[in-house]
């Protein structure tokens, strides 16, 4: 971790449709920091303000309302900020991949970013191949497929490949894996974790599901009603199921089993957050 945060957000406010009768408050003073090389989860029920916050990370929303956003040392409220450079460093994959696909063929769509960067044809091909491998789309089988003929899950993979093809330093997944089947999803996340572990890719995961965070992130920010309401290490957050429930969130079934055992008077030493941990803890309990 470097001393200066990669993303620093201070007391950020944001209202949509400001000064109209339809004005909606999305953020009411959010403070968070993400350092280079971290893997952070942002979790909260729908409407909590998660997407609004992360869209500040890469300058999709500029801070024109109270609050400060500093990305990679640059104050994002400064109109002279080179937003293109920021977006190349910080890739954002949205919830709805079809909004992020616009070329006719899958291969062309993924090559779009590298092409804009002026990459040579041959390098581009390698880059596209690499990105498709990363998300688990077979290069030969999918490069010439029509983007509109893809299934929902395949579209999500293609959109992610298009962002990865830019080799960003940070990747934000805004519920981008909902609708991807569980196996492809865990394969995909494993590859991203490899990039994170071996190449220092900074990761931010946005999701309403605590299951998505287990084994994936070091730290979690819980948001509700436009505020950060809980923050801490993944295990700290998981060990407070009642508080999570009050914010409209659940915990994974294995964690629920552990809390169920505690309620039944059984001693649980360590609250499990993954199935592996759940099995180990249960085994210890059964053999104690």
């Amino acid at each position: 971790m470097s001393e200066q945060p990669f993303i620093q957000i201070n007391d950020l406010h944001h209202n949509y449709l400001r000064d109209t009768p339809l004005e909606v408050t999305a953020l009411r003073g959010v403070t968070m920091e993400i350092y280079k090389g971290e893997s952070v989860g942002i979790i909260g029920r729908t409407g909590a303000g998660k997407s609004t916050v992360v869209q500040h990370f890469n300058g999709l929303i500029r801070p024109v309302q109270p609050g400060k956003v500093v990305v990679d040392g640059q104050d994002m409220s400064d109109p002279k900020v080179d937003v293109r450079r920021v977006r190349q460093k910080i890739g954002l994959v949205f919830q709805y991949p079809e909004q992020q696909l616009f070329e006719r063929l899958v291969g062309d769509d993924i090559a779009f970013g590298p092409k804009k960067l002026g990459m040579e044809q041959a390098d581009r091909r390698e880059r596209v191949k690499w990105a498709m491998e990363m998300v688990g789309l077979d290069f030969d089988a999918f490069k010439d497929r029509f983007t509109f003929s893809l299934s929902g899950g395949e579209m999500r993979k293609a959109a992610l490949a298009g962002v990865l093809a830019l080799r960003p330093e940070m990747l934000i997944l805004d519920e981008s894996t909902s609708g991807v089947d569980p196996r492809s999803r865990s394969e995909l996340l494993e590859r991203l974790l490899t990039l994170h572990n071996e190449h220092g890719l900074t990761l931010a995961f946005v999701s309403p599901n605590m299951e998505d965070m287990a084994g994936l992130v070091d730290r979690i920010y819980v948001m509700d009603e436009g505020r950060v309401v809980m923050s801490g290490t993944t295990r700290e957050i998981f060990s407070q199921p009642d508080k999570l429930r009050a914010h409209g969130l659940g915990v994974p079934q294995v964690t629920e089993v552990a809390h169920g055992l505690i309620a039944r008077g059984v001693r649980v030493r360590r609250i499990p957050v993954t199935v592996e941990e759940g099995v180990e803890e249960a085994w210890k309990i059964l053999n104690s």
Binding site: V24, E211, L249, L261, R264, G278, V279, I285
Partner: protein, 293 residues
């Protein structure tokens, strides 16, 4: 593996026979999305369809409400063949469909108008229309947002509006194509409770989902792979086949996985537990015997 527990004496409400479906059948590279399905769905069934991306789940669903017509084989809904265009309207009013992405399903600029759109077009009288809209918005817990523009709602809120819009048409069959995948746990629980209630009132439910613990809601589960039905049974039956499901790139609910792995270490531990309380009860029962810690 099993026939539906509830209503075997009834005629199926949906009958699928020898179904094949190819996208772009005339082109050089047709995609064989459905490669031979025979399936009967009975009134009151809650059928859950699981399978990895591209296994043909959505294509199957679209063949049920005539968004797609069979390349080969037949689909009957309430005895009406989907191939006959004269049946399309009747079938669509019997089958309400909720998709994964609510934006594609929302038409009006105000929430309550959007929910009223379907029943209004079915000619529901004004007084009842009001009642239905209120009921449907109440079921999905969106009453307080009834005057807001849908595009300003969050994804999960929009999905609840879309579901309310379909429910307001009072369909006999409700098809949910990954309809909860964009919702938060609370929103998902609200929707599942609503669907459960509709099912108890007699609505036949067909739900496609990736959330394995959601599959436990149904009385039947089918598993799809490469356009075919490869496993069928009650949730407990299907999920007890952990290895086969894994080979099909699917997971099982965490509780079942936990029980299964404990069973591998200690064969006396039951491998087919499905609910959180079942697992907790089983562990507690066993620790009581040995004095616990």
């Amino acid at each position: 593996m099993t026939s539906p527990a509830s209503s075997t004496s009834w005629d199926p409400i949906i009958k699928i026979e020898g179904l094949h479906f190819h996208y772009n059948p005339q082109s050089e590279h047709p995609i064989h999305a459905i490669t031979g399905i025979d399936l009967e769905i009975y009134p009151g069934d809650y059928l859950v369809i699981v399978g990895h991306n591209g296994s043909g789940k959505s294509t199957l669903a679209k063949n049920i409400n005539v968004l797609l017509k069979p390349t080969e084989g037949n689909v009957w809904v309430k005895g009406l063949n989907t191939r006959d265009s004269a049946n399309t309207l009747a079938i669509r009013s019997a089958v309400g469909m909720v998709f994964q992405i609510p934006d594609n399903q929302i038409v009006a600029t105000i929430v309550e108008q959007d929910v009223a759109f379907g029943p209004e077009n079915l000619g529901v009288p004004r007084s009842e229309l009001h009642e239905r809209v209120e009921w449907a918005l109440g079921v999905v817990d969106m009453l307080e947002h009834r005057h807001r523009p849908p595009h300003r709602l969050s994804a999960g809120q929009k999905q609840r509006v879309a579901i309310a819009g379909v429910m307001a048409m009072k369909p006999e069959i409700l098809v949910l194509d990954e309809a909860t995948s964009m919702l938060d746990p609370e929103g998902r629980e609200d929707v599942l409770a609503a669907v459960r209630q509709l099912n108890e009132e007699g609505v036949t439910v067909i739900a496609i989902t990736h959330f394995m613990h959601e599959a436990a809601e149904g009385n039947r589960v089918i598993v799809m792979e490469a356009g075919k039905v490869v496993m069928e049974g009650t949730p407990r039956e299907v999920f007890s086949h952990v290895e086969e499901l894994r080979a099909l790139q699917l997971d099982v609910p965490q509780t079942t996985e936990m029980a299964y792995r404990l069973n591998q270490r200690d064969p006396t531990f039951p491998p087919d537990l499905l609910l959180v309380d079942e697992v907790a009860d089983e562990i507690q029962r066993r620790t009581n015997g040995s004095g616990g810690a």
